[in-house]
């Protein structure tokens, strides 16, 4: 692979913008004791950021803290701390990282401690562990907890009943709890304004993710994708900042397309695009760069990934937050999150991606400690192979436990897989020419 830039990571304007946004959110969170701002802890999938903002509350996301700590190589020690406190080896490592994080004083990346939450808001979208996690947090903080029960899309679709059930809970449980804790009265027009901003950013976000349909793809929809989902999946959906970020990013990508450039990597622009992949499952965070390098060194680009749909599916069935149906659209958003969809629906989604993004293969990164993602993955892989005739492969790692990333083993499998794609391609098994 030809590298056109030196080894230092290249920062584009959008990256700097996102960095500032994250830093300012951590600053707001850590200064909450001084400003008196109220903090709600909630999870990425099904998060109700637009609603939370209506109550001037700040949004703290424990799994984002775990990811931050994983990428900063701090999660290993935190996990050991959690194990010391009696959490077993097989437990979700986001949870253990968070438990250890709290035990070590919950120091945010800015070096200041995160405040205790005033409210735990669980929007339950397919991950049972989230519920157990909040039980632990409730025990730790003793604060008010509210749970939004989002029905599982067992039949692959959302019925009116399901939506009404979520809306009813929003009205009767969630909004009253937010009002009680914040002391702010709910204003539906404020929610509409937030939702309108969300939809605007979502349009650009979808355009960005779909830019990977170009050949060469100007983005990596997994390793780059996890950065692109940052604002829309977290505390920024519904803000002007998110709109600005995606506009900026879209401009940068438009330019890449015009110049025929591939994705940006930590070592500069990717050279020749050799393999286009669709990836299922979250990435490994503790060795994120090493993992990514195994792909870009071989000219492999991820053109679509399911992980970038965990905090909301916007492309597949065109969902947008809708200010004209505020609570209903929040309900639909929660119902449609990737892990809340059944296996046949996930398979269909992946098959669509394989097809629309002209992928050469399908790869699963299976996370040992994440059952909500991993259950059924091998079956899904078989089905995708059968339907598309494209080669598939399976690698295994973990979210934030550094002990479960065996670099040589994963590299071996990936190299074998890329060679397998080559071999199949030469034998006429793939649509792309060698």
């Amino acid at each position: 692979m030809k590298k056109t830039a030196p080894r230092e990571a290249i920062k584009e304007l959008s990256m700097l913008k996102q960095k500032e946004m994250i830093a300012s959110n951590y600053e707001k969170l850590t200064s909450a004791p001084q400003t008196g701002a109220r903090v709600v802890s909630t999870y990425v999938p099904g998060n109700l950021n637009e609603l939370i903002m209506c109550f001037d509350m700040l949004n703290n996301l424990p799994e984002i803290n775990a990811i931050q700590n994983g990428m900063r190589k701090k999660s290993g020690g935190m996990i050991l701390e959690a194990e010391k406190r009696g959490h077993s080896e097989d437990v979700c490592t986001y949870v253990k990282s968070d438990i250890g994080y709290m035990a070590k004083g919950a120091i945010a990346p800015n070096g200041k401690p995160l405040p205790s939450p005033d409210l735990l808001l669980l929007s339950y979208t397919g991950c049972f562990t989230f519920m157990k996690w909040f039980e632990l947090l409730r025990d730790e903080y003793g604060c008010e907890t509210v749970m939004l029960q989002v029905p599982y899309e067992g039949d692959g679709k959302v019925s009116k009943n399901m939506r009404d059930y979520v809306v009813k809970q929003l009205k009767q449980e969630v909004i009253p709890a937010l009002e009680r804790v914040s002391g702010v009265k709910f204003d539906i027009d404020r929610l509409r304004e937030n939702l309108a901003r969300s939809a605007k950013a979502e349009d650009d976000f979808v355009w960005i993710m779909q830019s990977a349909k170009n050949t060469p793809s100007p983005i990596d929809a997994y390793f780059g994708g996890v950065y692109y989902i940052g604002p829309i999946f977290t505390a920024f959906r519904g803000t002007e900042d998110a709109i600005d970020y995606y506009k900026l990013l879209r401009g940068e990508i438009e330019q890449r397309i015009a110049l025929g450039k591939g994705p940006i990597t930590p070592e500069g622009d990717l050279g020749e695009e050799k393999y286009r992949l669709v990836v299922e499952g979250p990435p490994n965070w503790t060795s994120f760069r090493d993992f990514w390098k195994m792909f870009y060194d071989e000219g492999a680009v991820v053109v679509a990934s399911t992980y970038t749909k965990v905090g909301g599916v916007y492309d597949y069935d065109g969902f947008r937050h809708d200010p004209s149906r505020p609570l209903e659209s929040l309900a639909e958003y929660c119902l449609g999150c990737y892990t809340n969809r059944n296996l046949p629906e996930r398979v269909k989604m992946i098959e669509t991606y394989m097809d629309e993004y002209n992928a050469d293969g399908f790869l699963t990164n299976s996370i040992k400690s994440c059952n909500s993602f991993s259950a059924g993955q091998l079956l899904m892989m078989r089905e995708i192979e059968k339907r598309t005739g494209k080669p598939a492969a399976f690698v295994e790692s973990d979210l934030v436990d550094p002990r479960y990333f065996s670099a040589s083993n994963i590299k071996n499998r990936l190299e074998s897989y890329f060679q397998m794609i080559d071999q199949k391609r030469r034998a006429g098994g793939s649509t792309r020419a060698a």
Binding site: R382, P391, F394, N409, R413, S416, Q419, Q423, R426, A427
Partner: protein, 439 residues
């Protein structure tokens, strides 16, 4: 003569395969990987060259109508005799290297008796060696380190005791030397060794002695053929450490798939149990990999597991299978964790279970793990080929056959006596393809 070489760098052994332009096997060689892949590669390659020379010699004999003289027995004896020459050469290297280490404060004042004991130890190993390389003789291992090491321990210790010398001094000298010797590929003077071997074999084989000069000419002609290495492909665990450009490296999954296809073209599923990994591979009718699964994160249930058990039982790894075949009772071992298996083994022995029964259970445990990998890769629906070092273990094979029938019904199961070379064979075939500008 143009030839194509495949090298499979396994965690335990390194294998080399030389093919001619018609993809016919010219030679194959194997050596222990010794944590030094560069040396292992050059030794395995040299072993394959020796084997190729024997093939060429056989072809020369055929061409000259001399192949009926002595036949296979002659070639076998010649090879054994050649191996003996090679062993003696390395033993002498060990001798000289050890000499260089007889110095320093620990040996002060004892230089003479230590040198004498060392020389006597080497002399006795050399005397014994002739027997080890007689026709029909069985050696525990073909690797110099294993043979020389175990004899050095026995003989050296005895002689030190007699001479009232501390054995650990001699052992220390040996330990330092063997690493050097092992990492020094044997000298390349094949002609001298082959001629010496021929001269040793001829007096005991009258028909050979009668036409010795003609046979010698055929040998010299075979040795004179220029072997032109057109392309080398490396594969296996240590492939990234090879000083090869990237185009000369192939994944072992692809190589095993293609190698198994070349041995048995009807194969659709390949199981390879190597030292550190177990692979389930699905291939199509051209040997192209369709799918694969490997053991994840830990090497439980791989070849090294058996090595560990052998160490725990103070046995040679090749002795495990035959003992396990004597099992009369099914002992269930659940853990495939290598370290736990050691604990389980001791526990069972303490409970009074028979060694053979426990070993039977351990063999079943690894095969069960392999079956899970096969099923994850897509199961067995057609001809099935078992490769890798563990395929030489009859007890593992027996368990595998049973479990294949239980899970998939009657299937053709191929196990080639040379299955350990499957990866190297595939690599050599890739070398041939690459040289032709194909895949």
């Amino acid at each position: 003569m143009d030839c194509f070489i495949g090298i499979d760098l396994g965690s335990t052994t390194t294998k080399a395969m030389i093919l001619d332009e018609n993809l016919g096997t010219l030679g194959k060689g194997i050596t222990n990987s010794r944590s030094n892949y560069e040396t292992a590669t050059s030794v395995a390659k040299q072993e394959a060259v020796i084997s190729a020379r024997l093939t060429l010699f056989q072809r020369e004999l055929e061409a000259r109508g001399l192949d009926n003289i002595g036949g296979d027995v002659f070639l076998d004896r010649l090879e054994q005799s050649f191996r003996l020459e090679q062993f003696l050469e390395q033993l002498e290297d060990l001798h000289q290297t050890c000499f260089n280490y007889i110095s320093g404060p620990r040996v002060a004042g004892m230089e003479k008796p230590i040198s004498e004991t060392l020389s006597e130890t080497i002399r006795r190993i050399a005397t014994e060696a002739a027997k080890m390389y007689e026709p029909g003789a069985r050696r525990k291992s073909d690797f110099f380190r294993d043979i020389a090491g175990s004899r050095f321990m026995d003989i050296g210790e005895k002689l030190c005791k007699q001479a009232k010398l501390p054995f650990d001094i001699l052992l220390n000298i040996y330990d330092k030397s063997i690493i050097e010797v092992e990492n020094r590929p044997p000298s390349g003077d094949l002609q001298r060794k082959f001629e010496a071997a021929l001269d040793r074999v001829a007096p005991v084989m009258l028909p050979v002695a009668a036409r010795l000069e003609e046979i010698r000419q055929a040998l010299l002609a075979a040795l004179g053929i220029v072997i032109n290495e057109v392309y080398v492909v490396g594969t296996g665990y240590g492939r990234v450490t090879l000083p090869f450009p990237k185009e000369h490296i192939r994944s072992e999954i692809l190589c095993h798939g293609l190698g198994a296809h070349m041995m048995y073209p009807g194969t659709r599923t390949v199981l390879d149990i190597g030292g550190q990994d177990t692979k389930g591979i699905q291939i199509d009718d051209a040997g192209i990999v369709e799918n694969f699964q490997m053991n994840d994160r830990c090497a439980a249930g791989c070849g090294r597991y058996l090595g560990y058990i052998a160490d725990e039982m103070n046995m040679g790894v090749h002795e495990l299978g035959p003992l396990a075949l004597k099992a009369k009772k099914k002992v269930r071992i659940n853990s495939t964790c290598t370290v736990f298996a050691g604990a389980e083994l001791r526990d069972r022995l303490a409970l009074g279970e028979e060694r053979s029964d426990i070993l039977g259970g351990l063999h079943r445990a690894i095969v069960l793990r392999a079956m899970s990998i096969i099923s994850r890769s897509g199961g067995i629906s057609n001809e099935f080929t078992f490769t890798g070092g563990v395929a030489n273990n009859l007890s593992a094979v027996r368990e595998l056959k049973k479990l294949v029938v239980e899970n998939y019904g009657d299937m053709t199961i191929n196990i080639d006596p040379n299955s350990i070379y499957t990866g190297a064979l595939g690599a050599a075939a890739f070398a041939r393809r690459s040289a032709n500008g194909e895949n």
